[in-house]
């Protein structure tokens, strides 16, 4: 039996055919339904701290039952936006409505939302049970009813044996679950999660991601999560608002923001991307001809949103959508670049090849290690050819 892998014979894709974006099919899309009423609306919301603008004219709608993520680097205003919804900050301009009701002037303790704090903010003088009961006590709920709800919540987060423990006798993961149980105990209209998994280790974080998603479905509460971790946002959220410097630069499904980023900024923030600065040579609908002076290459890609000839655009191609080969391409092949291996990063499931193109341009090509044995492994300083399909790249104008 031959151990050599068969070279993948790629079926020729008809040029310019538009398929669905991404690998996930979901029927939940109230944002596309003109009759759907959003639960929360941010309308032109701005917030300044001194001379610094933390949130700059943000408008977004969150629909009932949605798992919505605010994603961005630290200092992008995502936490401030969430804190304005919780009532801890007051917007300088704009309006926030919840179920059609303007929240301006409503103090935090009267808002039907609950927050899970990044630091968990568990009351150190109360035990697990009392922490969870805290919000229920404020409502003036009957004692036996509180007891029943608390045990229901303890069961939900699997902390029943720890009911009498104080927060400082719990592990990080247990604290996180107490904070979660305390926040959902009141059955709020909406749950706000501020970096909920930030303090957990990687393994626990992955488990908790799925737990949170299950919990959201089980409770039927709308979730708004703030995170700087793109994987976290992508895994859990129905939609993501990518934020940068106080602005919501793109709002869409995880597949949309990843596969059709609105700008170089978004493309670079979400995952890795190779960017080529190019000039539009010609539009031959549905294809566009781009010329990259820097890497002395011509590209042939879909002309989506591509301006007319002469304009400067950027072509963004994700590393995993590029192919790498030791064999020269057939004559006349498009989107093929010759280069030399600069660096190799082996991560187990993936291998990242950094290839130096003419003009000292570096591109990253990722290849899934789908086979255990490779006939001709690629090594340092090898001459290689990098190529991608015409629909693999996105044309960006900004």
């Amino acid at each position: 039996m031959s151990r050599a892998p068969a070279k993948p014979a790629k079926p020729a894709k008809p040029e310019g055919r538009r398929l669905n974006i991404g690998a996930v099919r979901s029927s939940f899309a109230p944002w596309n339904d003109p009759a759907a009423v959003p639960l929360v609306r941010f309308e032109g919301v701005s917030k300044r701290f001194g001379t610094q603008t933390a949130v700059d004219n943000v408008s977004l709608d969150i629909y009932p039952g949605e798992f919505f993520a605010l994603l961005g680097p630290s200092g992008c205003g995502k936490t401030t936006l969430m804190r304005m919804l919780a009532g801890f900050e007051t917007p300088d301009a704009g309006r926030i409505t919840l179920a059609g009701e303007d929240l301006a002037g409503v103090p935090p303790h009267k808002r039907p939302v609950n927050m899970m704090f990044q630091s968990y903010a568990l009351f150190p003088h109360l035990n697990v049970e009392q922490n969870i009961a805290f919000g229920l006590k404020q409502e003036g709920m009957a004692k036996d009813e509180i007891k029943a709800r608390v045990s229901e919540m303890l069961d939900l987060v699997k902390l029943t044996p720890f009911a009498k423990r104080k927060p400082d006798q719990l592990s990080g993961g247990q604290k996180q679950r107490v904070a979660l149980a305390r926040a959902v105990a009141r059955k709020p209209r909406m749950l706000l999660l501020d970096e909920p998994l930030g303090a957990l280790d990687k393994k626990l974080r992955e488990e908790t991601q799925f737990e949170l998603m299950d919990l959201q479905v089980e409770l039927g509460i709308t979730f708004l999560i703030v995170t700087h971790d793109q994987e976290e946002a992508m895994v859990m959220a129905d939609r993501i608002a990518v934020m940068n410097e106080g602005k919501a630069v793109q709002i869409g499904r995880p597949e949309e923001v990843y596969e059709t980023p609105a700008s170089r900024q978004v493309a670079e923030f979400l995952g890795d991307v190779n960017l080529f600065e190019t000039k539009v040579e010609a539009i031959d609908h549905p294809m566009a001809h781009l010329e990259a002076a820097e890497s002395q290459a011509g590209f042939y890609v879909l002309d989506d949103d591509c301006p007319g000839p002469g304009a400067t655009v950027w072509l963004a191609v994700r590393p995993e959508k590029m192919r790498i080969s030791l064999d020269p391409p057939e004559p006349g092949a498009k989107n093929t670049l010759a280069g030399e291996i600069w660096d190799i990063g082996y991560t187990g499931d993936w291998t990242n090849y950094i290839v130096e193109l003419p003009g000292e341009k570096l591109v990253r090509v990722a290849r899934a290690n789908s086979q255990r044995f490779v006939e001709r492994p690629i090594g340092w300083d090898d001459k290689v050819w990098v190529s991608f399909d015409p629909d693999a790249g996105v044309v960006l104008v900004s």
Partner: protein, 296 residues
């Protein structure tokens, strides 16, 4: 227990031995002696030249006469009770004044905080005696307080040489000892806990009682003990501001020691006072240990 740790524990033990145990034993010995018209004014003396026989004679002469005398004279029991009353009232008043002060300070911006902290400590830069004397000037019949009352068209009140004056003096003098531990406890309070309380539906005044107050209890206990213990034995304030009615045990000790030259009796009074105060000190230490455990 590891060796370095037990060695480090030796330092406080040595300290305690030199500055507490040894003087305490001296006073205890004194309290078991009898008064004498001699120099020094007590008997028996240790007869070092007599060797073992002398020591035996010395220990044989020690007795509890002074303590018996203490129970026979109601004056001293009254002085103890009134001292405890003055101290308890003073501590509660200091807490009522000090808590809002500390709370306000902890709520200030960090820059303002350090200035306010400075101001709380500032009185220590002047002699304690002078500060208490200043109150004589305020409280005396033709003093500042009455001048102010007259200005407002109110009846003059003479507070000097009344129990109220002692109480004012106690609260004034020990207020920083209340404010500082309270401030330390309140300043450490995590602000997000109050946000969490608000988020869970608690209005601000309720959050104070449900979150701020319980978390500041270690500071309250520390402040109360730091005020109460020295207040009980306070001698300068009742002496300068109090009249004959304001009986405090610290003053009684002073009188016995210096006016009556009855050293053994003064020592007995002091020993009883110490035993009375050991209870709150033990409570304080236990609370400190618990706070340490909580902080871990």
């Amino acid at each position: 227990m590891s060796r370095p740790r037990s060695r480090a524990a030796l330092i406080p033990a040595l300290w305690l031995g030199i500055f507490f145990a040894f003087p305490f034993l001296l006073v205890l010995k004194l309290s078991l002696s009898d008064s004498a018209l001699a120099m020094p004014p007590y008997a028996p003396q240790i007869d070092w030249a007599g060797g073992m026989e002398g020591l035996k004679r010395f220990f044989g002469a020690l007795d509890f006469d002074m303590y018996r005398r203490l129970t026979e004279d109601r004056l001293y029991l009254d002085a103890y009770v009134s001292s405890l009353q003055f101290a308890a009232t003073g501590t509660i008043l200091a807490l009522l004044v000090g808590y809002p002060m500390a709370y306000g300070m902890a709520k200030c911006k960090p820059g303002v905080r350090s200035v306010l902290l400075m101001l709380v400590i500032l009185p220590f830069w002047t002699s304690f005696l002078i500060r208490v004397y200043a109150w004589v000037g305020i409280l005396k019949p033709e003093g500042l307080l009455n001048a102010f009352l007259k200005l407002l068209g109110m009846e003059p009140h003479t507070l000097l040489y009344t129990p109220a004056a002692v109480q004012i003096g106690l609260v004034y003098s020990y207020l920083p000892f209340m404010v500082l531990p309270l401030y330390a406890a309140l300043e450490r309070l995590d602000h997000t806990l109050l946000e969490a309380a608000a988020d869970l539906g608690s209005p601000p005044w309720k959050s104070f009682w449900q979150v701020t107050w319980p978390l500041s209890i270690p500071g309250v206990i520390a402040g109360c003990l730091l005020c109460f213990i020295p207040m009980v034995g306070e001698f300068v304030i009742p002496d300068l501001l109090g009249g004959p009615g304001s009986l405090m045990i610290g003053r009684s000790i002073w009188m016995e020691f210096f006016a009556n030259r009855d050293w053994p009796f003064a020592s007995a009074v002091a020993i009883i006072l110490l035993i009375t105060l050991v209870l709150p000190i033990v409570l304080y230490q236990r609370q400190q240990a618990r706070a340490l455990e909580m902080g871990r």
